[in-house]
Structures are given as structure tokens and as C-alpha cells.
Subunit: 585 residues, 2 copies
């Protein structure tokens, strides 16, 4: 169950809260289990974790029936504006009510063995709700209002609002900006909230709260709204020391916009805390006891740090899926541009948690294979056969041989530029260019983007010594992992689990239960006990790195020209697209 990192690479937890008990006590059946539920972009996964052995007893996946809603509203069929990405919250409940009973049956786990449950979610994925937690989009009166639906993390139409908030915050010298690399993202809480306030005031006025989906699920399970400090810290500009951005800031940017606490509240709970126990009707539907402890909700990327067994500065954890989230913890706070955010205790208590990332990864390859080339993927969930074929052929190509380079901005740039209005570029195309070369170039573009991010950390005093990568693509694309090593010059290690976020969520469920009920009282113990084994690692090739240094120099030139010095070029293309697609055009 060791991560396989050298002993000296591991961080040490400070003694806190009067120490901790050494190991869980045995449950009545000799086995203690927690449930981790990981809500992704297209589906949710339920994991049952044996707290004694760290074994994954069962995993079930439930796809969201409505998936990502980006073309037409399901209720009315009305066309949605460009850069819209919505979801249906009833899809999330499907994951609980189908996924958990199926997992219990598959793992042959009895109700009395389950002591806790934790969840994690994409973020910032937010929805407007009534006072009793009912999503507005489930009410007939609001069902045809796009702004009443869940705004998925990659809903990008609030970019102009993010731009204005950034401009005003910069002008006013707002201190909070420094924690977010100098830029707020259109994916975050306030741009999405202000979009509703601007565009559909009745929805804004009617909602009692605008909540993260991760908080909404916990509310549903326990009957208690206890918002996570993690999502508030990274996505709503909240900090324990300074609270939220001031009303004066919002007034300066959007005169008349109400107090920011009105829909967000003022109280936030840290990871691993217990939010309550299961409501009776929920417990009955899930086939669990009402005594099951429910942890405060988590964000999928952040909870992957304890989930992967990482507890040490210098480890660059990459969660590689639809997009990439990068997480680094450090004892010291560095204010730097080009990160998504730094939050004290935001990932693990006692550390400053840094977040960065790349906005399109799995998404970009799905685009390449399905949308561009029209290839059919294999059986659902298998990763598809064309991926394997392209992976095999692309691995035969020599570095530099394609003459191509790409900017991986298919979904904008998350870091280090923080600009959703950037878009992807492929340069170096010739009549001899093959689809396999383009595929490899997209893999390389991800590695170059990662190198640019790690260099930004190093330039600002947060050294990165090695990479740990988890998530579906980290497991499936050996070529991408090798390219990451070759391009960055860092060793890349892959934990032996497909369910790192769910393991982190289940770990939080064990913290919520506490040692008195067979769980844990602190993260350090829990991470040490539940760390997954290492499956394999990739060492950088010196020779290939030299070739890639050459390609990377072109990548950086294009990156800085199109992403910084002449950002107006790609922005102009987006503006023209919006104008052309506007309904009244």
C-alpha cells in the first residue's frame, strides 16, 4: 500500500489536535468499509474501500443520462448559446441510488459494515436551489430557463464577466487576486452567478442559494447544508483569514449586484469533517444504516492528493482525465502568476495547496477521434479501440519527426494564462502530415503545457521534483506518460488504482466516522494507511529531451505570442464566432 516514493520524499505531519489514535478498531463483522462517490463530467463512480486492507471491494459506474447539455435544453429543445455547458441534477441522484446498491451487492458488503461515506465532484459545478434544496430546474415554472440548470465546470459563457471582474480587481488592487495567479476564471462561482443576475433576474431572485453540486449532494444525504471550504477557497475567492471579496468590489464591477454572501453564505467546513449522518429515507433507498457518517463534500482534483497517498512537497500530482488538474502542496505560501489558486489548508491541513491545470485533455482526444476523424470508440468505458491503435502507431514515431507543434487550448487555457477565450492551434502541417502524427502532436502539446506549468512553479520558488499522475489517461496512455517524462525531465509515477478521487472521498468518509467508530481522526494516519501501491514509473530519456527542447522552444514562442503578447488575435476569432452564432445576427 506504499506509494513507492522514497522515504525521505515524504512530508511529515505536524502533531495537532492532541494527537491521534494509531489504527481503526475492528467493526462487528471484522471488516470496516467506507464509500467514496466520484462525480465526473460524464458519469459517477461508486467505490467501496476496505479500511483494514486498503482493498477496493467494488466499483460501479453510472453514466449521466443527459450527459453534458451544450446544444439544446432537454425540456424545450431551445438552442443554447455558444460556450454553454449544463447538467441535469437528477442524473447525480441516479449515481447514488443505482450505483451504491449495485456496489454493495457486487462487493458483498453488508449495511452494518459501512461506517462512512464521502463524495467528490467536478468544480466549480453549481446550481440554483430553493430553501429546501430543490433545484430550480426541477420546478415546472423554471424548467425552460437555461440559467436554472446546473452550470458545469466547463460552462464558459461568463468569460466577459470574468474579464470585467479581473479588470476591476486589478484596478482596485484587490489583495485576493494574488492568491489566484492574478486572474479569476470564467469557470468560477461569481462569473457564473453574475451571469444569472444579468441574464435572468427572476431566477436570481427566486433562488435561495447557489450551491456547489458537491454541497448539494451532502445536503441531500444529510438534510444539512454544510459548504466545503475547499471549493469556496479555490473557486469563490474565499479565505479563512479574509473572508470573501468585499461588497464594494462587486459594486464597482457590477453596480447593484447584491451582497456576495446572499447566495453563498458565510460558513465553510474543511475537508474530512463530518457533515452529519444519512437521512432515514435516503438510508432506506441506499440500503444503508442511518448511522453512516457523511463527510463534507470534496472537489475531485484536490481529494486526489490524499487519495494518491501524496503528502509531500515537491510532488506534482496530475489528475489526467477530461482535463488535467495539477496539485502541489508546500509549507510556504508563494504568490505567483499563472496558477489557478493557492489556498491555506485547501488540500491538506498544515499546507498551502496550489492548483494549476490544463483545460482540455481527454476532451481533446475525444474531439480528435470522434468529432474530427469520425471514429467509433470501442465498448463504453473501455477507452475505445482507436485510441489503442493510434497509441501504438504514434509510439513508433521519432521525436520531432512530424514537424508539428500544437497549443493544447481546445477548451481555452486554464494555466498559466487563465484565458477561456484562447483556442487550439496546430502548426507545421504539410501534405505529408498523417493522422497519427497529429495524434502524437496533441499528446506532446499536453506535455509541453505541463512543462510550462512546472517551470512557472519553479520560477516562483515552488520546486517540483517528480510527477505522480493518476486518472484514466494516466493509466491508459503509456505514451503520454513517457512524453511527460521526456519533455519535463522528471520521473513520472502511476499509482495502482483507477479510482484515486473516489479513494480520497472514501478516506474522507473514514475521517467523518472518526476512530471511535473504526475510522480515522486525522489525514496523516488515514493517508499512510490507505495509500495505493505504485503500478509503474517512467524515466526521462536524455536524448529525446534534447529534441523536445527544440520543439518546446517553438511551443513557448507561440504560447507567449498568441497567449500573451497578441492575445487579441485568438480573441478576435472567438468574438467573430459569437457574433456569427448570435440568434439575432
Amino acid at each position: 500500500m506504499a506509494l513507492g516514493l522514497p522515504e525521505e520524499a515524504r512530508g511529515h505531519w505536524p502533531a495537532r489536535r492532541g494527537g491521534w489514535s494509531v489504527s481503526p478498531v475492528g467493526g462487528p463483522g471484522g471488516r470496516l468499509v467506507t464509500i467514496g462517490v466520484d462525480f465526473g463530467t460524464e458519469s459517477g463512480r461508486v467505490l467501496l474501500l476496505d479500511l483494514g486492507s486498503g482493498e477496493e471491494l467494488a466499483v460501479t459506474e453510472v453514466r449521466y443520462p443527459s450527459g453534458v447539455i451544450d446544444r439544446r435544453l432537454p425540456s424545450s429543445g431551445q438552442e443554447l448559446p455558444p460556450d454553454t455547458a449544463l447538467q441535469d441534477p437528477s442524473d447525480y441522484l441516479d449515481v447514488l441510488y443505482r450505483g451504491i446498491p449495485e456496489a454493495l451487492a457486487a462487493g458483498n458488503v453488508a449495511a452494518e459494515e459501512v461506517i462512512g461515506i464521502g463524495i467528490d465532484f467536478t468544480c466549480c459545478t453549481v446550481l440554483p436551489v430553493t430553501g429546501d434544496g430543490t433545484p430550480l430546474c426541477e420546478l415546472d415554472q423554471w424548467r425552460e430557463h437555461p440559467d436554472a440548470w446546473v452550470k458545469l465546470w466547463k460552462h464558459h459563457s461568463a468569460q466577459p464577466i470574468a474579464d470585467r471582474l479581473n479588470m476591476v480587481a486589478t484596478e482596485r488592487g484587490e489583495a485576493f487576486l494574488a492568491r489566484y495567479g492574478g486572474r479569476l476564471s470564467s469557470e468560477w462561482y461569481f462569473p457564473k452567478l453574475i451571469e444569472i443576475w444579468q441574464r435572468d433576474r427572476p431566477v436570481y431572485d427566486t433562488m435561495s442559494a447557489f450551491v456547489e453540486a458537491t454541497d448539494w449532494i451532502i445536503w441531500h444525504l444529510t438534510g444539512t447544508l454544510m459548504r466545503a471550504s475547499c471549493s469556496a477557497g479555490y473557486k469563490a475567492c474565499w479565505s479563512a483569514r479574509d473572508g470573501l471579496p468585499s461588497r464594494a468590489f462587486f459594486e464597482a464591477a457590477y453596480p447593484g449586484f447584491p451582497d456576495p454572501t446572499e447566495k453563498l453564505g458565510t460558513s465553510f467546513a474543511s475537508p474530512g469533517r463530518c457533515a452529519g449522518t444519512l437521512r432515514a429515507e435516503v438510508a432506506a433507498r441506499l440500503g444503508l444504516n442511518t448511522s453512516v457518517a457523511v463527510a463534507v463534500g470534496n472537489v475531485d482534483s484536490f481529494v486526489s492528493v490524499p487519495g494518491a497517498g501524496v503528502q509531500s512537497p515537491g510532488v506534482f500530482l496530475m489528475v489526467v482525465g477530461t482535463s488535467i488538474c495539477d496539485l502541489v502542496i508546500d509549507r510556504h505560501e508563494a504568490r505567483m502568476p499563472g496558477i489557478t489558486g493557492v489556498v491555506e489548508d485547501g488540500i491538506l491541513p498544515g499546507f498551502f495547496g496550489y492548483e494549476a491545470g490544463q483545460a482540455a485533455v481527454g476532451d481533446m482526444f475525444a474531439w480528435f477521434g470522434s468529432r474530427l476523424l469520425g471514429l467509433k470508440s470501442g465498448e463504453a468505458g473501455s477507452g475505445g479501440s482507436w485510441h489503442e491503435e493510434f497509441e501504438r502507431e504514434a509510439a513508433k514515431l521519432a521525436p520531432g519527426a512530424s514537424g508539428l507543434v500544437a497549443l493544447d487550448w481546445w477548451n481555452g487555457n486554464r494555466t498559466i494564462l487563465g484565458d477561456a477565450d484562447l483556442s487550439g492551434v496546430i502548426a507545421g502541417l504539410t501534405l505529408a502530415t498523417t493522422p497519427v502524427e497529429v495524434y502524437r502532436t496533441l499528446l506532446e502539446s499536453v506535455a509541453f503545457g505541463t512543462r510550462r506549468i512546472t517551470e512557472n512553479f519553479a520560477e516562483h520558488g515552488v520546486a517540483v521534483r517528480e510527477i505522480v499522475a493518476c486518472g484514466g489517461i494516466a493509466e491508459r496512455s503509456a505514451l503520454m506518460m513517457q512524453l511527460l517524462a521526456d519533455v519535463t525531465g522528471l520521473k513520472v509515477t502511476i499509482p495502482d488504482s483507477s479510482q484515486i478521487p473516489a479513494r480520497g472521498a472514501a478516506l474522507c468518509g473514514a475521517l467523518a466516522a472518526g476512530s471511535s467508530r473504526g475510522g480515522f481522526d486525522d489525514f496523516e494516519t488515514a493517508v499512510l494507511k490507505l495509500a495505493p501501491a505504485m503500478s509503474r514509473s517512467y524515466e526521462p530519456s536524455k536524448q529525446d529531451r534534447e529534441t523536445y527542447d527544440g520543439v518546446y522552444s517553438v511551443f513557448c514562442a507561440l504560447h507567449d505570442t498568441l497567449g500573451r503578447n497578441h492575445v487579441e488575435w485568438l480573441h478576435r476569432l472567438k468574438q467573430l464566432r459569437r457574433a456569427a452564432l448570435a440568434p439575432t445576427a
Copy 2:
């Protein structure tokens, strides 16, 4: 048979050579016919033209069995270096010996009705030959030497040589440079010849001459080597006033390189002149009389000017096929950067003939459909069904709606940058980008490239008033033609013939025969009598042009950044590619 241009738009020919006879006299059978043979990149086409009616009596096409040889040498299977493009000269003779008899049969034309033959060829397409005109690659001793084969126009591996010639010519202030927009192309005569001298000295020493394929065919037909002034003027830096670049220039660039006239000769004949009559054995194989007059060889693009009935300044003739050649004639000589060349009497006597162009057009769409998307084209010669489907769907999209822009440099940039080491770029890609959007973006990139060229002409005093477009894509892609009009703001007219170059070649055959034998004595008469009808025209849309002005501003920004100010970025990618593919790497 009128081109359909307004009367005032037509140029007037100077009275010269003591006037001209008004119409051809009738032949023995009442019908006078000439043959035009158009040698393209993948095939040759034979046209029989009725000189009385201008009617196309028959057209046959013969594909080259070996096509473009760019991967492996047919004789030995040895791998060829990157940017190689060779051909087998025996393929050209197939066109004559299969195509002409088939056309005579199809058109029911008797040998005695044929009074002349003219040909045109891609250019600069050159081959080393012995003293009797035998191609070196047909001799066993030389067959496995890549440098013994025909170097096709798009053979680009001599780019470093072109770069060096340009540098030295600029340093020395060579006057000839100004006629070629300040840059020689790697596609031209001397870079290709010096490549042989550098790489395979025995081939260089053994060849008696290095001849344009167009001259080689005329030599084969008549037994006389009479080189065309047109190809020498545009591709070998020759001019009637100044001759060839000096030996001192070549000595400065490549010490020891022999006198440039050694393999090229010193005597060149202008278009429409008679090179001789058919050799007896050739006439017998073709089924023609030995009295048939053979015109000096032509270049496919230049001969399209008389072929399309164009005889007026201000008309921008585009020959749209594998690549685009742009031709403009003017009374005055303007020295300007960003053209391929300007040659006095190079296209029509009495005019300065300007050439510009775009290096990948049909090639780029073939790449998109066949190589990238893996689509099968339809029946050979039909243009393929996927083209039609994409054309139909792309026409439904609104200007600007894709958010994409491309630089059409899949085969380098011919003008206005003259740089074969540039490569294609697509910018603005998102997860929503569709293949149809990419297709339309490639069409738009061709139109933007054309606009940049027409603006360059206008900036230097050669005004362009309208576009006449011919060639396969001009006929098949109504969308590309409409985009050309919308983007440039110029009316686009399409002549009603698929065989414009072959018509020009046949016209030259009639000039070679002369009026005494039923042909013509001068271009003006011939062009007036033989101009094709206009098939249709496209008017620019003002509203679409405004949107495209926005996209074009981004095109120009990328064009100048990647093609001028930071040309080293795309060059670096090509260098890395060459290094990675080098056999010893």
C-alpha cells in the same frame, strides 16, 4: 466564344510584324484541327481543337503510372529523403502515344485535318539527359541514382541551396533578383541543378543537358532541342536583355560550380514559335502526318492566359488546380517583392507578364479528405463524392462562425513570401470544431492568400480589377469561387472549358503552323478567334466581406508573424523534422 468580359475591359494588341490575316483558310476536309497536350502533376490531357469553331472535339486523359515519386525509388525501393518529388519520363510518353491516338479516334479526326501541335507542362520540372536526349534515369547505370530522375516542380529539398543563392544575390546586389520579387524559389532550375552537382557529381558530369520536361517533349517530337524562353525567364533567371546570372555570382555562392550555360544553353525561343515538324517514327506511332507543325513548349500556367482568352491588363487570371498560379499582364514593368517573377514578353508579346501563386490548393484538399480523414474519393476523374458533400455542408455555414483561421502553407508559401520551408497552421480549434468547419476554413485560407497577393500587386502599382479563374477546382468548387469574391471584393468569372491550358497549347500549335497552312500568325488573332465562352460569374457580398475583413486581419497578423518576423519558428520545425528523418540519425 467571347470570354464575356465587357468590351472596354479588353486590351488592345499593338500592330506588329506588319499586321495579320483575319481568319484561317479552310483545310482539305473543311476542318482544321490542332492538338494541345497539357502535362499536369498526376496525368496528361490531350485536346483536339477545331480552329474554325473553337470547339473542343475530343479530350482524353492518361494518368502517369508512377505518379509522384516521393517515398521510394521505383527501381530499387530505396527510401527517398524528405521533400523529394520525382517523376518517370516514360510516363509522359504514355500520354502522347496512348492519348493522341485515342483522342483522334474519339473525335473522329483524320490525320490530314491536324496541322499543328502544342504542349504545356508543369514547371520547373527538369531532367538530366544525354546528348541524344535520353533521360539518364532510363539507363541501367544511372537508374538507382535519385538525382538522375525528373525533379518535379514541387521537389523542395533544394531549399538550403535556394536560401544560399538568395543570400549571396542579396549581398552582391544582383540586379536579376528584382525581377523575382527579391527571392528565388527552391522549385527553380538552378537550386535543382546545384543539388545534383553537390550530391551526385557523376550524374552532373555525365548529363549533356538539364532540360525542362516541356523542352524534352518537343525535342522528342521534332528531334530538335529548342528551349522555351518562358520557362528560362521565369525559372532560370534568364532575360533577353541581360542573359543568365553571371558565372561570378555562382562562383561566389558555390565555388567551383561550372558556367551556368553548360547544362542550360544560351538560346531560347518565344511562345508560339515553330520548333519543327514531327519525326517520321513519331508521326507513325501517333497516326499523324510528318508535316504537323510543333510549337515551342509552354508552361501550363502561362499558356492559360491566351487559353482563357485573356489579353487585358487588370485581369487576375488564376489557374486553380493542385496549386494556384496567378498571372497578370501589364504594359509597364513594376519591380516588387512578393511575386514569383516578371518577364518581358514572358506570357504574351508586348506585355510584362507577372506570376504569383499559392503552393497547395487541390493538394491541400486531397490531404484533408484522403490523408487526414481517410475518405475514399469517388470514381477517378469525377472529383469524388466527399468533396461534393463537404462543399454542400460548408456552404451552409456563416462567415466567421467556425472561429477558425488557417495559413494555407501545406506546401510552403510560393508568394508573397517565397518560402518552401513554411508549413500550414490552423488556429482557433475548439472541442466544438467540426470537419466541415475545417474544410471551409481551408477554402477561406486560399481566398485570404489570394487577397494578400492581389493587395501586394495593388500596393506596387499593378491594379487588379477582376478575377478570371480556371482549372478543375474553379469549375467544381462554387463555394471557393464565392469566397474568393467575398474576401477580395472582386468579381470572379469562370470560362466554360475544363481544358484552358490545353486550349492555350493548341492555340500555340496553330501559331506554329501559321496562316499559310490554316493557322494563325500572331497571338492577338488567335486569342480573339479561340477565346472560350464564359460559363458563370460570382459577385462579392458586401456583408460577408465585412465579416471576412475581421478574419483576414487575424490571417494577416499570423501571416506576417510566422512568415516574416519570426520565420525561424516554422523553419525550426522543418529542421527538426529533417534531422529526425535523416538516415544516419
